[in-house]
Amino acid sequence: MASEYNEFIEKDGKMVAKPQTKAIWKTFWILLIITVLEFVVAFSLPHHYHILKVAIFVGMTLIKAAYIMGDFMHLSQETKGLFWTILVPIVFIAWLVLALLLEGGFIATY
């Protein structure tokens, strides 16, 4: 880890590496801007575009989830094995969403 740093500062009589936080703040701004965009979409698109709205919300939520897991939880820096061990089971959630939301629609009609 220490080899990544080439600038050091003195703190309480000890030498510590200079923080490298540029990427973290960049991710923060991306998350914030997406959340603000969600608000803009929620109150500017007319309500009869409901399905389009939901699609935009789902897409933006997945982008936010990707940034949180990839950058904040460092999943993108883990080995390919760990990366897919975590992501592959999510397929079951996608299936459950499809199955139960369709089922809910049928309960409403009958």
Binding site: F57, T79, I93, I107
Partner: protein, 253 residues
Amino acid sequence: MATHAAAEPKQLWLGGAEPMKASYGKLMMWIFLVSDAFTFSGLLIAYGLVRYSHPAFEGVPAEFVFSTEYWPVPEKVFEAVPFFHGYQLPLVFVGIMTFILIFSSVTMVLAVEAGHRNDKADVEKWMLWTILGGITFLGSQAWEWGHFITGTDKPTIVTDIINGVQVTKEVFGANLHVNQYGPQPFADFFFFITGFHGTHVTSGVILNIIIFFNVCMGLYERRGHYEMVEKVGLYWHFVDLVWVFVFTFFYLV
């Protein structure tokens, strides 16, 4: 050289190496988070099922009134902000809560970054900000629950059948028995989903406080690495991740 190459795979399977280059604790935290993701998905998808099995409100949003006949429009339910009584500010307070949680996630990742540099003072600083963010979020949620339970100024007229007799009554707020905002399951899911998430935030804050205490006592400095900060960090980011989904599927859609 040949003997060395033969000995290596044997060592791998005796537990001498870390599978997928992650320590045991980190790997198990990830596996736990996957299982926890399934629990939250179960709750949110059940919400979707029940929502779609109720009729939706078919009118113009401006003419929306609370009724148990159809599922409420969330932005009409969550439009109160502390100190702004009487103003209609749809989703503003929940937006503030989202910001608080995303920001505490940033301070957490800054604490992890400081841990990589073995910078004790910075880890302390950012852990403390993360704890403060978590407590602020919990306080906001307590206020929102209080408002949801107490209800709006005007009651909703609800028709109910008690012992076979049709009874009309005025309902303020919601609990697990009555709900002024819409069908009863709407209130039940509100309490269960945000409550289950709030429980996670609470335990996350407690874990963060324990780790913060250990950092201050110099435990991880003596150990030589701050991996424990990384592990609670994973949990804390997961709590933020779940909130991103709750925000979209409970409040926005």
